[in-house]
Structure formats: structure tokens, C-alpha cells
């Protein structure tokens, strides 16, 4: 029973840490499926987290914070879109630039506005998301086995957590069951064909980039309004890159993305859990190895040793009509 209890706690924290990964990876799914590579997920998430923390601290409203997060993230996405769609610039370079601009300006602006060493003020309970208990959680907890699963694993998360997991089937539906989704995927594979059909490649890609901005906004808001009460400098700490890894690991498919994010989240939770405790057979596993594992797994996958990850064909290539 003790093992079961540990497992429930571990899975609970897995869900908690994988939410921002899930939002960001789904965000990347929309742009990359439309043929725009985006390594600026990290920057957008960080910018959104800062906007959420700052606005929520000033207005004392969690919704205003969420809105600000989405707004800032969409704006940054549009910069990326302008550079890579309209100006046909290098998409990787643009993404790198956004990451740096955001990393620097969140600290400078945060320090100038709040003077707390790059933090935003700690949020009161009303200005951040609260956990939601599912109905009858306390009563059902007493039921053996299923009780803890329902009460501790499924209940007691933030609203954004439930939204994140709901976004998985939603993204699948949008991408695979709507006209917009079909065109979006087509524009990532063969923009010429889409153009021939009389559909604007440019506008379609811009819409994909905006979708990405909205989802990254949620990811950032989750970090500063739900997971912690306020923004801390550099709080994304590479999560955007892990999300990118998860996106590739999942071979650019929505449901796979959820499992990839949960796997990487689980590794993260396990690394914290295992700190200093030796494992049977292998002895003590260095924390650093656990931290590097998502990246190592992605490299191995990309190299085609576990299946083959094939990116959208037109990914990274700006569309030039007159060719």
C-alpha cells in the first residue's frame, strides 16, 4: 500500500509539472504543422508568465493576468510570424532572437516596475488560480484503491490543468476534423498546392502562429498564476525546449504529445523524488542524468533508433509565391 501511495503522489506531481509542457508543445504543434518552425516557445512562455504575474499583481485579477499573458504571447508570435512569413527570414534565427529579447526585458522591466530583483509581487489568493476539488472528493477518498486515484490524482488541480488536458482532444479535432485543420496541415506539407487551390498561404500561416501564441499564453499564465504565486526571473528554465523535444518525440501528433509531456514530466518528478535515494541493481542514479534524459531520448528518437520522426515537409521554408 505504501508503494501505491508513493506512486499516486508521484503521478500527481507528474501532472502538475507536465501542464506547461503540454500547452507549449501543443502551441508548437500548430505552427510547425503549418510549416513555421518555432524555437521561441521558451521566450513566449516566459513573456506570458511575466505579463500574467505583473498584470495580476497590479489589477488583483487573475483573469486580467491570463488575458495579458495571451496578449503578450500572441504579440511575440506575430513578431516571429512577421519575420518568418512576411520577411521570409530564417525561422530559427527569429526564434532565438525572441528568446533573448524576452529573457532580458522581463528582468529589466520587472526590476524597473516592481523593484524586487526581477520578481513580480507575490500574489494574494484572489489574484491567482485556486485548485478545484471535484465533487465528493473527500467522501470517495475512503474507498480503497479507486478513492486515492479520484481524490488525490484527478481532483485538486487548477482549472488550467483541466483545460490543458482538454486541449489535447480539442487540438486533434481542430487539426484532423475541420477544414481549417486540413488546410493548416496541407500548408506545412505543400504550400504550393494550397496556394493553387486559391487559399492564402500567408494568412493561414499567420492564423497558425496566432493559435501558437494563445496556447503559449496559457502555458506562461500557468507558471506564474497557478504553479507559483508570481513571476520569478527565468522561471521557464528550459521548459520551452523540453516542450519542443516532446513535440518531436511525439512525431507532431496531438495525443502522442500528451504522452510525451507526461513522460518528460514523470522523469522530472522522479528526479526530484529520487534525489539521494539509491535504486536496486543500479545504485544511485545521478540527478543530472535524470535531468538530461528527456534530451537524450529525443536525440535517440530523432536519429531514428526508436521509430522515425518525420517533420512537416515544408517546415522551416518560407513560402515564395513567384517561383
Amino acid at each position: 500500500m505504501d508503494f501505491f501511495h508513493v506512486l499516486v503522489v508521484l503521478l500527481e506531481s507528474t501532472i502538475r509539472v507536465s501542464v506547461p509542457l503540454l500547452f507549449a508543445a501543443l502551441a508548437g504543434l500548430f505552427t510547425e504543422r503549418a510549416g513555421v518552425f518555432d524555437i521561441g516557445l521558451e521566450g513566449k512562455m516566459l513573456g506570458a508568465a511575466f505579463a500574467a504575474g505583473a498584470v495580476a499583481a497590479v489589477t488583483q485579477s487573475v483573469w486580467a493576468g491570463l488575458l495579458a499573458a495571451i496578449l503578450v504571447s500572441v504579440l511575440l508570435s506575430l513578431v516571429h510570424g512577421y519575420a518568418s512569413i512576411t520577411q521570409r527570414g530564417n525561422q530559427i534565427v527569429s526564434g532565438v532572437a525572441i528568446n533573448f529579447i524576452v529573457a532580458g526585458s522581463t528582468v529589466i522591466l520587472g526590476e524597473a516596475w516592481f523593484r524586487q530583483g526581477g520578481r513580480t509581487p507575490a500574489l494574494a489568493d484572489g489574484a491567482r488560480f485556486q485548485t478545484i476539488s471535484l465533487p465528493e472528493a473527500d467522501v470517495i477518498r475512503e474507498v480503497p484503491f479507486l478513492g486515492p486515484i479520484y481524490a488525490d490524482l484527478l481532483s485538486g488541480h487548477f482549472l488550467l490543468t483541466y483545460i490543458a488536458f482538454a486541449m489535447v482532444p480539442a487540438s486533434w479535432w481542430v487539426l484532423y476534423r475541420t477544414r481549417f485543420g486540413l488546410r493548416l496541415r496541407a500548408v506545412g506539407e505543400n504550400p504550393g498546392a494550397v496556394d493553387t487551390a486559391g487559399i492564402s498561404v500567408i494568412w493561414l500561416r499567420y492564423r497558425a502562429v496566432i493559435c501558437c501564441g494563445i496556447l503559449c499564453g496559457f502555458a506562461g499564465a500557468y507558471l506564474s498564476l497557478a504553479m507559483t504565486a508570481g513571476f520569478v526571473k527565468g522561471m521557464t528554465a528550459g521548459k520551452g525546449y523540453i516542450a519542443l523535444a516532446a513535440l518531436i518525440f511525439a512525431k507532431w501528433r496531438p495525443v502522442n504529445i500528451m504522452f510525451a509531456c507526461l513522460l518528460f514530466g514523470f522523469l522530472d518528478a522522479l528526479a526530484i523524488r529520487l534525489q539521494g535515494t539509491p535504486l536496486p541493481l543500479v545504485g544511485q542514479v545521478p540527478v543530472q542524468f535524470m535531468q538530461a534524459l528527456p534530451y537524450i531520448l529525443t536525440v535517440i528518437l530523432l536519429a531514428g533508433f526508436i521509430g522515425k520522426a518525420i517533420p512537416p515537409k515544408a517546415g522551416g521554408v518560407p513560402y515564395v509565391k513567384e517561383r
Partner: protein, 377 residues
């Protein structure tokens, strides 16, 4: 769009266009300074004064520039072959192992001029090793070099934390760093070079690896424009299909280019480890690998452009520290913003102002032609 942009005179292409892009980047950075409620002109004054005001300041500026020449060259070499090596950060970090091993092994028994060449070899070896894997994976397994090098940056960071906290740390010490090197592991300063100009280098760690950086820049120029390998690299960068038809082995060039790139990034480790701290510390690279991207973009991947671009970033790093000291609301993170803006305007948006500049030149050309005609008639 078959001919994207009209051909411009060389000085416009390599001088004016980058300068306009750079100016816009700085204008936007000035807006951020305004937003924070400070005077951008005052900040610019502190920047220039902090970078050039004294011999010691110039020493620091050139010390930083040394680092950025190495990482800028690393990114540029890969660019020429059409490869985007984002992994300079990780390659420099791992390259540090080679430097540290050479110093830890011989610093007590040998003078610096024996240790230094070994340290160079070590840094190149480990840097190239860390770039070999992504290059090989791209060449043989088709995995995207950008993604693999990003992943390798994170793997390098974990590996180095492990090595510095468990393996390379002296017994009984708490700090995650190697022991301090004896005399043999310390590079001589270039104080004589500055004293020619009547400047006193003071405490600045401006050291002999600067000369190595200049030599490396020259070497890269020879490699890219004067050797067969460089020609093959540029062919592949321009048109992979043309390279294939010409019988150039893509996979071979990819792997070799990445190893040269990684080796150059690895050499960066010499400067902070043997030149300043005399030990290997956690995070000694401090983002220099990423600055290399900005430097290569600004320098148009040419050593002649990379050296001034690296010095510019040296100015930003050293002068930025002075701004942070004089104007507390502008911390050193301002440099990160400027770096991002330079990458954005000189890299991703490099063609934004080109149509306007081209038009201006076309108009001037027409007018000159008209004048010639009028005179002739």
C-alpha cells in the same frame, strides 16, 4: 522573385545594410531604456566610457571580444556549409574539460608555453567531439542539426554539473569547481601590447588567447576562401543539390564542418579558464555560445566582419557592466536584450530595409544615367 534583390555595391551590401540593421536594433534598445525611465544618451555615454575610458576597461573589452571571436567563428564556419550550429554553448562548455585536464595534469611541472598547446589540443578535441555527434547524426541519420545541438547544450550542462560536483572537484571542497591552477596553468597577460599605445592593462584579464583568436580568424579565412575543403563547404551551403552533382560528399563535409565548428567553440574555453579564473567553474561559458550567433550574423560570417562584431559585443559586455553600476535600474540583462535585437534585425529581418535601400540606389543610378545622357546631348 527569381532574382530576390538587385545587386548592390559591395560597401552597401557589407557595410551599409548591416549598419542600418544595427542602428535599428540600438534604437529599439534605446526605447527600452526610455521605458525604464532612464536617458538612453546617458546610457550610451556610460557604455562608451565603460568600454574605452581607461586601459583597464579596454583590456576587459578585448578580453570579452576574444571569447566572442571564437564562438562567432564557430557559428560562421557552420553557416558557410548551410548548417546552423546552435550548440556553441555546449561545445565550449565541454571544451573546458580539455583545458582543465591539460592544466591539472601539467600545471605544477611545466611552464605555460608547454601546457598551452596541449590545452588548445584538448579544447579542440572535446569541442569537436561534442559537435561530431550532432554532425554525424545529421549526416547519417537525418536528424535536424538545430534540434540535436539544442539538446546537446542541455546534455552538456547536466554532464558538466555532474563532472564538477563529483569528479573534478578537489576532495573536501564544497564549491563545484576544479582546484586553482599553479603557474603553468595561467596564461600571460598581453599588457605589453596595450602599453605600446601607452595604456595600462591593470587587473584586466586580457591574455595571449587574444592572439590565438586572431590567428584562428585568419585560419578560418584561409580555410573558407583558399582551400578545396572550404570551396566544397561553400558549395554545399549555397546549393546542396549542386554539391551532390559535383560529387561532393555531403555527409563527409557535414561531419568535418561540424567538428571544425565545435573545435573553434571549444577553444573559447581557454580564455576564461586559463586566462582569467585559473580554474574551471560551473557555467563559465555564460552564454558566449549564443552571443556567437549574433556575432556571426552581424559579421556576415566573414572573419573580417566577425572581429569588429566581437569587439562590439565586448564593448556591450564591458560597458554594460559600467551602465549597471552607474544606472542601477539598467542591469546587465540589457545586454541580453540588445543581443536579441541584433539577432532579430541583423538576422531574421535582415532584408526588411533592403528594398528601400535598393530603391534609393536605383534612383541614384537613374539620375546619374540621366545626367550622363544630358551631357552627351
Amino acid at each position: 522573385m527569381s532574382t530576390p534583390y538587385a545587386k548592390l555595391p559591395g560597401w552597401v551590401e557589407y557595410g551599409l545594410v548591416p549598419l542600418v540593421n544595427l542602428a535599428v536594433a540600438f534604437l529599439v534598445a534605446g526605447l527600452v531604456v526610455l521605458l525604464v525611465g532612464e536617458n538612453p544618451l546617458e546610457a550610451a555615454y556610460h557604455l562608451i566610457n565603460g568600454a574605452f575610458g581607461r586601459g583597464e576597461y579596454i583590456g576587459f573589452t578585448l578580453y570579452y571580444a576574444t571569447t566572442f571571436i571564437f564562438t562567432g567563428l564557430a557559428v560562421a564556419v557552420a553557416f558557410h556549409a548551410g548548417l546552423f550550429n546552435i550548440g556553441g554553448e555546449g561545445q565550449a562548455y565541454v571544451g573546458g574539460i580539455g583545458v582543465a585536464l591539460a592544466c591539472l595534469w601539467l600545471d605544477k611541472v611545466m611552464p605555460w608555453y608547454v601546457v598551452f598547446p596541449l590545452a588548445i589540443l584538448g579544447s579542440v578535441f572535446f569541442g569537436a567531439l561534442w559537435a561530431f555527434l550532432p554532425g554525424w547524426l545529421q549526416a547519417k541519420r537525418g536528424s535536424h542539426i538545430v534540434i540535436t545541438t539544442i539538446m546537446f547544450n542541455f546534455i552538456a550542462s547536466s554532464l558538466m554539473v555532474y563532472l564538477l560536483t563529483r569528479v573534478l572537484k578537489p576532495l573536501g571542497s564544497m564549491a563545484p569547481q576544479t582546484r586553482t591552477f599553479a603557474e603553468g596553468g595561467q596564461l600571460p597577460k598581453l599588457d605589453w601590447l596595450l602599453s605600446i599605445f601607452g595604456l595600462d592593462v591593470g587587473t584586466a584579464p586580457f591574455n595571449i588567447s587574444f592572439l590565438l583568436a586572431l590567428a584562428a580568424a585568419f585560419g578560418v579565412w584561409v580555410l573558407i576562401w583558399r582551400t578545396r575543403l572550404g570551396y566544397e563547404m561553400r558549395t554545399m551551403g549555397h546549393s546542396p543539390s549542386a554539391a551532390r552533382y559535383a560529387g561532393i560528399r555531403e555527409s563527409r563535409i557535414t561531419v568535418i564542418t561540424m567538428m571544425i565548428s565545435g573545435g573553434l567553440a571549444g577553444m573559447m574555453a581557454l580564455n576564461p579558464i586559463m586566462g582569467e579564473q585559473f580554474r574551471m567553474q560551473l557555467d563559465f561559458v555564460q552564454g558566449a555560445g549564443f552571443v556567437g550567433i549574433a556575432v556571426a550574423l552581424m559579421g556576415r560570417s566573414h572573419p573580417g566582419g566577425i572581429i569588429p562584431a566581437a569587439i562590439l559585443f565586448g564593448v556591450l559586455y564591458q560597458g554594460g557592466a559600467e551602465i549597471a553600476f552607474e544606472m542601477p535600474s539598467i542591469s546587465r540583462d540589457m545586454i541580453v536584450i540588445i543581443q536579441g535585437l541584433v539577432i532579430l534585425f541583423a538576422g531574421a529581418l535582415e532584408n526588411m530595409f533592403r528594398p528601400a535601400i535598393t530603391r534609393a540606389f536605383a534612383m541614384r543610378g537613374q539620375r546619374a544615367a540621366a545626367v550622363v545622357q544630358a551631357k552627351g546631348a
